[in-house]
């Protein structure tokens, strides 16, 4: 049990069936504190499904997931939502900034929804760290793609998550920009002492991550 206490993510005997099809099967997988993992595999191999299960957004058909020491499937839905807000930072492929709010508003919303106190100074600090403090009061449609990506990353980091999940963060980017985004993510995850799990089919990222989990394509 001592060995398990250090595990930030622990998955055992996971299976998810959707529409009669097994979309994900994973025997045992464990991520220790501070590790950075790449989830690799072709489209449809279950990367996003695994990510959603890790985030507590999807309940697996079978199996157990422990995240930062807590059993997600044992929680009530409301408790799981709050736990997700406080423990996990998610970077979506399409960013999904809330268009009605400016950048700092998006960050503060993340604090509120996780049930944490509003801390503007913290929001500006994260934006500064990502070098977009000057865009704090811009609305999402006024941002360049690069700026929007950093704003989305800032939102994922605002609550000092112990786990950062990113879904295809580089799929729309050229080599230079993909490199820059991964630099930012790995750097920030290290700075925050967070686990980073990046799901991608982007093979350019292979050499950046020593720890990789390859999911096989389903027949």
């Amino acid at each position: 049990m001592e060995r398990m206490a250090a595990a930030m993510i622990e998955v055992s005997d996971l299976c998810h069936v959707y529409d009669g099809q097994t979309v994900l099967e994973l025997g045992h997988w464990q991520v220790a504190e501070g590790e950075q993992w790449l989830l690799l595999g072709p489209s449809g191999c279950g990367k996003t499904t695994l990510l959603h299960i890790l985030a507590g957004a999807l309940t697996p058909t079978r199996g157990r997931v422990r995240l930062a020491g807590a059993d997600l499937s044992a929680m009530s839905p409301g408790a799981r939502d709050l736990y997700r807000g406080r423990t996990i930072g998610i970077v979506f492929q399409r960013l999904h900034l809330i268009s009605a709010l400016d950048v700092v508003g998006n960050l503060i919303l993340a604090q509120r929804l996780a049930g944490l106190a509003v801390d503007r100074a913290r929001a500006l600090e994260v934006l500064s760290a990502l070098a977009i403090a000057d865009r704090a009061h811009a609305f999402p449609h006024q941002l360049s793609y690069g700026q929007a990506q950093r704003a989305a990353l800032a939102r994922a980091l605002i609550n000092r998550p112990r786990v950062i999940l990113a879904d295809e963060p580089t799929s729309n980017l050229d080599d230079d920009n993909a490199e820059r985004v991964i630099d930012l993510m790995t750097g920030q995850a290290r700075a925050h002492g967070s686990v980073l799990v990046v799901a991608t089919h982007d093979r350019r990222l292979r050499e950046r991550f020593p720890q990789r989990l390859e999911l096989a394509a389903k027949p």
């Binding site: 985030a55 999807l58 409301g78 939502d81 997700r84 492929q93 999904h96 809330i98 709010l101 993340a110």
Partner: protein, 420 residues
């Protein structure tokens, strides 16, 4: 970043939708407010003007017209009644008091009423300055008349024939203002009072003294011949002197059932009961008010449909936003609350704008109604029904938000995010 701030941000992000929905709801609410204000003020005004007069007696014709002309001074009289018959009625033991009215002239649109001081007492009027009329051609004016026309004690005013402005002037027989009444909030404020004898004198009938002592003069204040500019020669008309109406208070409740019928069947006069006629009038007006209210409800319902459509269509655009909010830690209930708050906000704001609009329009329309029809309507009062109205509008917003909120509740984070 609470639900309210976020709701405001979303409403601001869609200004056209927001403004249109607010307008629909505000117009519906304003119309209802206007009707409430008008209905209530009309009713209280009518009841106040009716005072505790039990019966109005005048010439035969429409009882409604008799009430309107003699009680509210809002229509032309049905005609005149012989003074002798009026006097006979006054002597009836079932009559506690009977105040005579002689109508026919106006001064710049304000009616000149020949009557006795009892008429002032009927409305609880009190002198603000000067005294009541006593000598011939003396007049005491109501508070509104004095204020609107700037009349002071000692001013002279020349009556014109008819009850509206522009009649032929009685230039040779000006009245002198000897008193001004304080405001009563009744029809009294808008009248110029003098003695019945003065009205006769202006029209060249009979000597200017008390009608009771002069039972044998004639012609009518209403329908006299052109040479009324020449006043004085006190000719006694062959038909006997006449007055326009008699305001009667009963000495016993039994009178209400027997006396009006007796008058209507056995004399050339007509008796009308204010309570009955006012109820009839309010029913007639009430029908119009009901029609307008139905129309206003249609506006409110379309506003509800508008808010529903806005929230519902926004929901499909906002599926990702809502899923992201869930991913950021929002519970299902928090999402539901978010949508409800937006509906409540639209409903509340629309109702508030509607209330302000309704009162503002009532005040503006009040000014116009007063100038054109001497009907008082004020926007600066609060009607009891408005609290309900506000509650209704807020509920409309909330009910419109219920289905979208339920849809938001059911959003599957994983599926939604996977699509995006």
């Amino acid at each position: 970043m609470n639900a309210l701030v976020l709701a405001l941000a979303y409403l601001r992000a869609k200004p056209l939708h927001t403004v249109l929905n607010l307008m629909l709801l505000a117009l519906g609410t304003a119309t209802i407010v206007l009707l409430l204000l008008f209905g209530e003020q009309l009713e209280s005004r009518l009841t106040r003007d009716a005072g505790d007069i039990d019966m109005v007696v005048g010439a035969k014709g429409s009882p409604m017209q008799l009430i309107l002309s003699a009680l509210f001074h809002a229509d032309v009289p049905t005609g005149n009644i012989p003074l002798s018959e009026a006097e006979a009625l006054r002597a009836n033991p079932m009559v506690a008091s009977a105040v005579p009215l002689a109508l026919g002239d106006n001064f710049r649109g304000y009616r000149i009423v020949g009557t006795t001081p009892d008429y002032v007492a009927l409305y609880g009027g009190a002198l603000a300055e000067g005294g009541l009329w006593a000598a011939p051609l003396e007049a005491t004016v109501g508070a509104v008349v004095a204020a609107e026309l700037g009349l002071r004690l000692g001013d002279r005013l020349v009556g014109a024939h008819g009850l509206g402005e522009g009649g032929m002037a009685h230039g040779a027989t000006p009245y002198q203002v000897v008193g001004v009444l304080g405001p009563t909030g009744t029809v009294l404020d808008r009248l110029i009072l003098t003695s019945v004898a003065s009205v006769w004198a202006v029209h060249g009938l009979a000597p200017a003294h008390d009608p009771n002592e002069e039972p044998d003069a004639h012609d009518q204040p209403e329908a006299h011949d052109p040479p009324e500019t020449n006043p004085a020669p006190a000719t006694a008309p062959p038909g006997g002197l006449e007055i326009t109406a008699l305001l009667v208070k009963f000495s016993t409740p039994v009178a209400a059932t027997s006396l009006p019928r007796a008058i209507n069947q056995q004399t050339r006069m007509q008796a009308a009961l204010p309570g009955y006629e006012i109820a009839r009038l309010l029913r007639l007006v009430g029908f119009g008010i009901e029609a307008f209210r139905a129309f206003a409800l249609v506006l409110v319902v379309s506003a509800a449909v508008g808010i529903f459509a806005a929230l519902y269509s926004a929901l499909s655009e906002r599926r990702y936003d809502l899923a992201v909010m869930r991913a950021l830690g929002a519970t299902r209930l928090r999402i539901v609350w978010q949508i409800l708050v937006e509906g409540l906000l639209l409903g509340g704001a629309g109702a508030a704008i509607g209330l302000v609009l309704g009162h503002g329009v009532a005040q503006l329309a009040g000014g116009w109604l007063w100038r054109e029809h001497q009907i008082a309507l004020s926007g600066w009062t609060w009607v009891a029904g408005e609290g309900w109205l506000l509650a209704m509008a807020v509920s409309v917003g909330m009910i419109a938000a219920l289905l979208p909120a339920w849809q938001a509740y059911r959003i599957d984070i994983s599926q939604t995010l996977a699509q995006g």
